[in-house]
Symmetry: none
Subunit: 217 residues, 2 copies
């Protein structure tokens, strides 16, 4: 039997981290559980502890989960990241995988699933929630729908898409991303082209259907 698996939990809610930690500690295969409250600090903790697996929440203030995944991988190309999110939309799954995550499960699972996934990753495998993996397959087959089109956006385009759909003006989005306003304009045109919509309203509606913007509880 190998050594116990060490885990780094990244989530901005202390309460939530406590819950995960409790469950992870129940498993005999899992040893130390470190914590970080956001992407920025995750790097530092990783540096010190070099955990076997990183469990990353997607929705966090600051960098956000996806960007955190990317940055971690820049510094530690071989680190194994399991994204653990509340979102069960396929868009997020594919984004996470493309960003370099080795696994994706939602928080709706039994706690055991988290342990299983962590172990799988520790052994060098990948773990994607079965239900989602299946949907993903079906989706591939159907091919030509909105989710597919959203997936066709480049990472940068997706960022801008989210901001614009949430009501930011071209200029505000540019400021937020530290880009020229013309750049965002050009991306915006490309996005509308790829999603085959003509107006910003259509774009927002599509985003709403895809669960990328939230309009109500």
């Amino acid at each position: 039997m190998a050594n116990k698996i060490s885990v780094l939990l990244v989530d901005d809610h202390a309460v939530v981290r406590a819950g995960y930690k409790t469950y992870l500690s129940l498993s005999e295969r899992i040893g130390a559980v470190y914590e970080a409250d956001r992407g920025e600090t995750a790097c530092q903790v990783y540096d010190k502890q070099t955990p076997d697996v990183v469990v990353m929440d997607l929705s966090m203030p600051g960098l956000g989960g996806l960007e955190s995944v990317r940055r971690l991988l820049v510094r530690y190309p071989h680190c194994k990241i399991l994204v653990f999110s509340i979102h069960n939309e396929l868009v997020y799954v594919t984004r996470a995988i493309k960003a370099g995550a080795k696994g994706y499960i939602t928080k709706n699972n039994e706690p055991d699933t988290l342990v299983t996934a962590v172990c799988t990753l520790a052994e060098g495998g990948t773990y994607i929630e079965p239900a989602l993996a299946q949907q993903l397959a079906v989706n591939m087959a159907i091919g030509q729908d909105e989710a597919y089109k959203v997936k066709s956006l480049s990472p940068r385009e997706f960022d801008i898409f989210c901001l614009l759909a949430n009501g930011l003006s071209t200029r505000e989005a540019a400021d937020k991303l530290c880009l020229s306003y013309k750049t965002v304009c050009n991306h915006s045109t490309a996005i509308k082209e790829k999603l085959s919509v003509k107006t910003m309203s259509e774009l927002t509606l599509l985003a709403s259907r895809q669960g990328i913007v939230k309009t109500s509880a």
Copy 2:
């Protein structure tokens, strides 16, 4: 000193419930902590245990948090519900309060805040996260009730509002209404002014929240 406060935790994530429970149990004022994994079961548990306070997550599969609040209140008009959500947007707060919740706090708070809120509700009070309560007050003062603003639109403006929010371009809306496109442009400006939004996306999001456009079947 009164009896200890009994609490019912409603959240679909077992992992998350565990975290809350741990923290709640640290307080001497809090006694039994029951759990339910969704709105449907919350009623049953409430029936058996009649807890002093219900702590309800907003985003849940099935009924969803808001609807669960309403249903609980139908059966138990005096039950004290504290909504505990990740959302810090005012929309969610107002909806929760309208649904009959006695308190609202976000998950970004220190765990102690949850305890404080639970105690306040148990004593018959209300607890709304200070930062949000302040925003809400400001919001009221300014008169930013979205529904109210929509009503302030003239009949013609409302027509145009609907068309634009549904994704039509200014020109298409003009054609549809047999108007000069300049007219629609001018109306559009007035509409945005009245609704205090800057972009078409914001306008669409508002329309979506107000149920004026439908985003999903």
